[in-house]
Point group: C2
Chain length 364, copies 2
DNA sequence: CCAACATTCGTAAACGTTTACGGAGTGCGT
DNA sequence: ACGCACTCCGTAAACGTTTACGAATGTTGG
């Protein structure tokens, strides 16, 4: 099946009518429409996207830009796959397709996005891994490409975003640890170019000071968000003169390396050092000791991103009258065993909430 | 900047010449070409992809279909991001763009691919997560869309593929374990619909029988390839009447759950049960005990996939005269602590190769 | 000086759609 | 019988590009 022309000839109908029939336009006889749809189905005809895009000036494709550095939490690994299914459940209602656009690691993300935008491959973009100053915002605004960012940025101008509640996470993590008696609380942070690293750190600093604990720069560990980074972080904690009694991880899998390095020195996580992590609860839960962590539903986040993006697109705004506002996405604390002890005595003074590993109850 | 027409008017040159200049066609004055390129750069002109695709009948986009089920190893998590950068390093040379096409979890993968193909969004496809009988092969062949599969299938007809050497992995894993005295070796396997599950299992069975060990179906543990699956797998192993002394995991992160469940019953991995895993060495290395595993370079695999795909496309075949053949991708064994003991005595009889966790040496 | 050729460029068709416009046919009210 | 509204459909233009073709100009060789 070549194109709509062949389909029209086969039906002995004009090509215009066929197009209208397929696109659900009103001025076409229902009987004719039925025939057209049947023939299209039979011959396996689907409109060529290039022709359609050219004519309509839109591609019906939404791009999700992804970068694979280990700097930021989003890039860790399953973040994108996670939000993807939420996004698609929204887009499917409008026959929009989602494509993930991986920025080559040797290409400047800004240049890459510029290329994608200029070629008019997508109608809208979802970007993440926001830098403190992110030129992509200006680029997309100028090009009038609707977009939404996962995370804020200091770049001037208003733009749609949904950010994780790092402020809340840092505050509640510190709150929880301080309540259990911790005073020296370390934290891991990615490069300060990445905005979330900056935000997370500032939130942590404020959370401490709010409770009368002085901020100690030596407790900020700059490592990659990876297993290896966790290993290095543990190493740096162990050599500190005044060793902290707790640490907050920005990525849950760092705990693997952290745990290992601690144990190599006979330091038991969950007894000698409290650990609180971030993001993937299923994984955190199976670590030993299980990791107290802040979880969220990537699926729901995907839905929110999709709705907010569409609410910012003129053609779809009508469907999402209540969306479109920027939101600070809440995280839920899932308590584990990794911080369930008294830092003074080392005793398991606080009983962790009971975990169940039944086949049925463990699904999140 | 609207289109090539505006650019042409601005230069007071015909639109045809501008196009030729930009595309490096020969019959254009070098001075003119210089002017055109300069103006295009200045005004930020980039050819509209729809117009170009429509005219040329090709999109310069290669699709990588991804599914997010936890059934197969490829879908686990960072597999796609890993091969992506290898793929792009090949595609970049031909100005081809790579897009990842996530199949919605509630849509039939075959139908999804059919839609993508029919809309002519991509010039070629990379598919993975092959089923034992995979209708996508027939679909793509019929549509004459060049493609390459990660993994084989029983579907009839020749098609380009690169498969991981499961046969070799299973054989060497069994070899290694048997050499250390193990006789009862369990294995985890995904659904038998997924071809690699079937292949892996058959390879394992043959490896056993080659060494005079009877295949015991009760040692085949069918669980999801996830942390939770690992937990369940350990549970199933523990309740067996005749408990195995070793287990082969099809996905490295399963070890997290497996380790945990074992320890909950006082069984020490690496002392009471040998474990060999699969695929991501950096992660495996930081587990405690570190996981002996079969690793590969996803980057190199990506390069091979890219080259083989292009070698199967008429327009690019010339650049890859030596590629195009199907290959069974070798895996390298990275020894760890998880199987470094004597199953009879439980003693650490075999000294594991020394691991280094220096900052510099740990990068793979 | 002329034919033959090379270089450079403009013209226009083509790719597959969608859609504004108008025409044909029908039914209805006057 | 006429005008009008309504339904349905065909015609053709337009989207932005690439490219076959040929025209115009300059160059060369005899």
């Amino acid at each position: 099946m070549k194109g709509i022309r062949q389909l029209a000839e086969h039906l002995d109908i004009s090509i215009g009518t066929v197009s209208r029939a397929l696109n659900g336009k009103p001025d076409v006889n229902e009987e004719t429409r039925r025939r057209v749809l049947a023939a299209a189905e039979e011959l396996g005809y689907v409109a060529n996207q290039s022709g359609r895009s050219l004519r309509q000036g839109e591609t019906k494709v939404i791009g999700l830009m992804i970068e694979s550095s280990t700097e930021a939490v989003e890039n860790a690994d399953n973040f994108f796959i996670g939000v993807t299914s939420g996004l698609q459940s929204v887009f499917a209602r409008h026959k929009l397709d989602l494509v993930m656009l991986p920025c080559p690691s040797d290409e400047d993300p800004h240049e890459y996005l510029k290329r994608i935008v200029a070629r008019r491959i997508v109608d809208a973009m979802i970007i993440s891994n926001m830098q403190r100053i992110d030129r992509r915002i200006d680029l997309l605004s100028r090009a009038k490409i609707p977009f939404i960012a996962v995370g804020r940025s200091l770049s001037p101008g208003n733009f749609p975003w949904i950010d994780l509640d790092f402020e809340g996470v840092a505050d509640r993590a510190v709150e929880r640890l301080v309540a259990r008696g911790h005073r020296r609380i370390a934290i891991t942070a990615p490069s300060s170019e990445v905005n979330l690293g900056y935000v997370f750190l500032e939130s942590y600093r404020r959370a401490l000071e709010r409770r009368g604990i002085a901020f100690d720069p030596s407790l900020v560990i700059r490592v990659k968000s990876s297993e290896h980074g966790g290993y290095q972080a543990a190493h740096e904690l162990l050599v500190l003169k005044e060793r902290p009694t707790a640490v907050i991880l920005i990525y849950e899998l760092m705990a693997i390396g952290l745990y290992r390095r601690l144990m190599e020195s006979g330091v038991m996580p969950g007894r000698d050092l409290a650990v609180i992590g971030f993001r993937d609860a299923p994984r955190a839960r199976f670590l030993q000791p299980s990791l107290s962590c802040f979880r969220m539903s990537l699926y729901d986040l995907g839905i929110a991103l999709g709705r907010t993006l569409l609410a910012n697109m003129p053609a779809y705004r009508q469907f999402y009258p209540d969306d479109g506002r920027n939101v600070v996405w809440p995280l839920e604390l899932v308590p584990g065993e990794s911080d369930a002890f008294d830092p003074g005595t080392g005793e398991k003074e606080f009983e962790p909430e009971r975990l169940s590993f039944d086949d049925r109850t463990v699904e999140f």
